[in-house]
Amino acid sequence: MSTLPRTERRRPHRLPRRVARSLAETADPRDALAGALRVVGESLGWQFGAVWEPAPGRPEVLHCVETWQANAAAHDFGLTSKSTLLAGGEGLPGRVWRDGEPAWIPDVLANSNFPRGPAARNAGLRAAFCFPIRSAGGMLGVMEFFTTNRRELDSELLATMATVGDQIGQVVERRRDTEALLAKEARHKAMLGTSLDCVVMMDHEGRVVDFNPAAERTFGYRAQDVVGREMAELIVPPELRERHRRGLSRYVATEEPTVLDRRFEITGMRADGTTFPVELAITRIDLPGPPTFAGYLRDITERKAAEADLRASRVRIVEAADDARRRLERDLHDGAQQRLVELAMDLRLARSRLDPDPAQARELLDSALEDLAAATAELRELAHGIHPAALTEGGLRPALEALVARCSVPARLLDAPDERLPAAVEATAYFTVGEALTNAVRHSEASRLEVEAELVEGRLRIKVRDDGRGGADPAGGSGLRGLADRIAALDGHLELESAPGVGTVLRAELPCGS
């Protein structure tokens, strides 16, 4: 149904004004086009109108983006138009697009360049005109109208429509620019909104201009409560505020960037007054006028804790290595070396008694042989404790079998990999099992121990189980802690399950890949 009063229709010279009014009422560019079609079509009393634009991704071809019809008769023609693609110069829209000039067809059925002829005949459409929709940036598309009777060229009308085409083009382009801008703003707002890092914007006087959701969560303020307040008061600890203020005013005065555009670690303060370590980068936002700054902040409490753990673990590993060397020195000195001293004394004495007292000399030589045997045994034990030959030569299976065989509590090796693994993995696995067995023998009152080592998807899984009294301290003694450090250094992990009365299971997993 037409929405214009009868008296208003068929007055072409009023068209520009009416179109302007219609355009002014619409905000959406699509509505602008649809409204313009309706206003023009109704004003002229014609039956069908359509807008054609370059197809997305195929700018050399036109497709129909909007249609209007006065009644149902032209409905199918609309459908046909919407499913038609026209090349430059093809059909009425194609001609106008190519030439950039309005065109008039008195009878489309008599026109050789009109691909939609059959559909037009079915709809009873005969005369048509078409004009460019133009903006400052160029031609956006073309608009066409059809009526049921044959009509001769109306130059005045066509000229008026050219003007209307410019009007429509300008407004549609403006609407589209605004739409694009709003979409961009919405995207940026979403970026700030979803950012995990805090983004705080500050003006040249140190007042908060913007405070994103991550900053709200991290610092415990609502953005609406802090905008306009001095940032130093809000998120800088009291003892650092003067430095912050001085730095800001110095930068504003001298424009010498000393802290801009690099990351550094400082202390931040939450709304409740608690402080925490923060990684901060400040940039200056490029806008006309006094400087505005954006600060990108990250709460690095966890990272600092992890760094501290890592440092502590490395210190423990170095100390453990030093301890092991000290123990080794002591074991060598107190053990094998003593034996060799005693051996030297026996031999020297035996030599001096060889002539005067051969019997005593023989006794001394027997004693010397015992010393030698004891010294050799001590050294063998020592070497075994440092790094057993079985492990180097044969890998985990024979080394674990030996460990299990030497265990004073009955122990079984259920499974061990046959393949060789990286040396660090084999050594760590061996000492883990050794430590676990030692602890079980010493503390668990177990009667049976089981050891299992399995290679699963490039990871070595070790299990040492005992049927003792359980209740082992998961923090373990320094032995277990030292193991945990070694295992962590290889990116593996260690866990202890020790239900009281049930027994203890120690599980370790070591990655074997490169």
């Binding site: 001293v341 005693e342 030297a344 004394m345 004495l349 001096s352 008694r353």
Partner: protein, 129 residues
Amino acid sequence: MSVTRPGSIILGVSGAVLIVDDNPRFRSRARRCLENAGYDVVAEAADGAQALEAARRHRPAAVLLDIRLPDRSGLEVAERLGGESRPPAIVLTSTYDAADFGDRVARSGARGFLPKAELSYARFAALVS
């Protein structure tokens, strides 16, 4: 009183010796070594406290003293013994090298240092005479 034996002639006084070391196996071998040469091992001590007590009781002419004792450094014991009237001749010994102790051996007042593995009556006698 002692019988004249090669060691006692060289010492010039009674050849009374005190052996101080926490390792009984070393003490028994050292005793055998020195007694075979004519010294009279009048006492053995296993730590610094016992050493001072034995020195006071027996007033030995010479002491074979291990530097590493469980309760204090042998060097400290050597200095204490050196402060007595008519101090004994002290020979320091150790499983370690003399070089490991630097000039502390010289400053302790001992006659000298003998590595345990090289202990013989001749070298001991050379130091205490």
